[in-house]
């Protein structure tokens, strides 16, 4: 099976603190891959390095797009990443509160828009047409996530669970081949988490894409992920299936054991 993302020897330090230390892993096409680790293990930092929000000190991050072309992500400006088909969500949800829900989702298709400033200013018919088409597509994405009823309400007024879903719907607009989810179930209740698990599984299946996720909810991770990588202090502890990870002594020490106490 071909890979969609490969991370090799990734390291980054902040003022002497090694947040990620020589980490390597790779994700296959259509795979749901989990990244777990105790708080402060550097999971979100890994995401930020992959999407070039942080520039890693060492290591190579390679991404293979839908057409099979390989791209070296290192040094790319962050706004170019989504164009390759690699899209992310944020730990604390980054939603545009001033915009209606559907416009938030449309933002996910930003790179698709052909119209420039002048075409938009003079509302050229072709630009309006493209806007209408993408709006339809955004509506479908919202429907997929069960938000189509409130598509025109302002995002700022929505509860946390809905914000998480808007972010998810937003990732579906760019024909992704890899979606990175940063704690998709953070702050959700059990029923919501269960629905979300099904939704993520459905997205991987229906959109033929791989998913890389960080999550603290072990039930979700173990039930959903094909493979899991456990890290601690930026270092890889173990990699394998849910069962393998659960049995790994190192992981139990660093993570699962402590989780039980809490």
């Amino acid at each position: 099976m071909s890979q969609v993302l490969s991370v090799k020897n990734l390291s980054i330090s902040f003022g002497g603190l090694r947040a990620v230390d020589d980490l390597s892993f790779s994700i296959d096409r259509h795979e749901i891959y989990g990244l777990i680790g105790p708080n402060g293990a550097g999971k979100t930092t890994v995401f930020n390095c992959i999407t070039q929000f942080y520039k890693p000190d060492t290591g190579e991050i390679r991404f293979t797009d839908q057409k099979g072309r390989e791209h070296l992500l290192n040094g790319m400006p962050p706004h170019k990443i989504i164009g390759l088909g690699l899209v992310r969500t944020f730990q604390n949800t980054e939603i545009i509160r001033e915009l209606p829900i559907i416009d938030n989702v449309l933002l996910g298709a930003h790179t698709e828009f052909k119209a420039g400033v002048l075409a938009n200013m003079f509302a050229m018919p072709w630009a309006r047409k493209q806007e209408r088409e993408l709006r339809k597509k955004a509506m479908e994405a919202l429907k997929y996530c069960g938000l189509d009823q409130i598509a025109n309400e302002y995002a700022g007024a929505q509860p946390y669970g809905v914000l998480k879903l808007i972010e998810l719907a937003r990732t579906l607009m760019c024909e992704p081949s890899l979606i990175i989810l940063d704690e998709p179930a953070g702050g959700l209740n059990d029923a919501e988490t269960e629905r979300l698990t099904e939704l993520i599984r459905g997205i991987a299946r229906d959109h033929h894409c791989a998913i890389l996720l960080v999550e603290h909810d072990m039930k979700l991770v173990m039930g959903l992920c094909h493979r899991i990588c456990a890290i601690s202090f930026g270092k890889k502890l173990a990699e394998g299936t849910a069962a393998e990870i659960q049995e790994n002594a190192l992981v139990q020490d660093a993570y699962l054991g402590k989780e039980d106490e809490a």
Partner: protein, 329 residues
């Protein structure tokens, strides 16, 4: 009801309302002059709203851009006798070009660098206005004429009508812009830079675009000013005017198309009203103080701006009315 909701129609109605002083008989010319002040500030304010309201950047140098265009247009039409349209194009291209260069330096950095760079640059420009007297007439200023468009030399009322038409067209263009992918990207980068970047918005590019648009609008406002008042001197284009532009956008309603117009009306109307009043009219600095206080009240308690006051009142009446109805049932 649906017709009134049509935004283009609303903007046309705003235009008609502004034209009342020239349409009605017996309106003193001072009223037209006051209204013209509102219109040219509204045009500059529209641009500032794209910059500040939609993309969240502060500029303290747009008054200088207005001045630059005003001087240029006066010089080109009077000294070089270029046709009005051509001189407008050149006069507006100048702040656009400078804006792009200045923006390219400052916009890459943290947000506040733009405010400081424009403040400094505005001061340099103002110094130029004073020193380069072969071009600007120094302290005494330069004069200009009513423009000639397509062989027709405009009168005072004609120039005013031209300005109102320009305002209406610009409102429509801004409306189109902010309701498109460009406007969405601007609002996104103001609200969450991270989300905007992750979704493919080139933040640098969009900041620069909004700065360029606002520079062009400031240029157009300057051109309107010089050909309506037919005189331009360096005392007008201070950082204080740039500050006023920001204040009127905030007071009228940031990130709304009509906000700049409402703000401009308040900004120029308020001091005029107060002049009429006994005692209060005598106090120096009072209008400035009131505008400042109004701005803070709006920023803290009513960030949507004055433009939402009527709608807010209607909504609260509706709510009461609706509740009463429910109560009856």
């Amino acid at each position: 009801m649906r017709l009134i909701r049509n935004k283009y129609l609303q903007y046309l109605l705003v235009g008609v309302a502004f034209l009342l002083p020239v349409l009605l008989r017996g309106v003193p010319t001072a009223t037209v002059t006051l209204a013209a002040s509102m219109v040219y500030t509204a045009i500059a304010g529209l641009g500032i709203n794209v910059l500040l309201g939609y993309s969240g950047q502060i500029s303290l140098g747009h008054a200088a851009f207005m001045g630059l265009s005003a001087y240029l247009s006066a010089y080109l039409t009077k000294q070089l006798e270029l046709p009005f349209i051509l001189s407008v194009l050149i006069a507006v291209a100048a702040p656009l070009l400078i804006g792009l260069i200045l923006g390219a330096i400052a916009v890459r950095l943290e947000g506040f660098y733009l405010a400081i760079a424009t403040l400094g640059f505005g001061e340099i420009l103002r110094q130029l206005f004073i020193e380069m007297d072969w071009f600007t007439g120094g302290f005494s200023g330069a004069s200009a004429t009513y423009p000639t468009i397509f062989g027709q030399t405009l009168t005072k009322n004609g120039m005013y009508t031209f300005m109102v038409c320009l305002l209406v067209v610009l409102m429509m263009l801004v409306h189109n812009l902010v309701h498109s992918s460009t406007g969405r990207a601007m609002i996104a980068m103001k609200s969450s830079r991270s989300a905007a970047m992750a979704m493919g918005v080139n933040v640098f590019q969009y900041k620069l675009i909004s700065f360029a648009i606002s520079s062009v609008f400031a240029g157009l406002a300057g051109v309107c000013y010089v050909h309506f008042f037919r005189h331009v001197d360096p005392t007008v284009w201070t950082a204080g005017l740039s500050l006023n532009l920001i204040a009127l956008v905030v007071i009228g309603g940031a990130a709304t198309v009509g906000g700049a117009v409402v703000g401009a009306v308040v900004m120029h109307g308020l001091p005029e009203l107060m002049k009429e009043m006994p005692i209060i009219g005598e106090i120096p600095g009072l209008p400035l103080l009131i505008v400042g206080i109004l701005m803070i009240i709006i920023l803290i308690f009513y960030p949507r701006g004055l433009i939402f006051v009527p709608r807010g009142i209607i909504d609260s009446i509706k709510k009461r009315f609706g509740n009463a109805k429910k109560g009856e049932v």
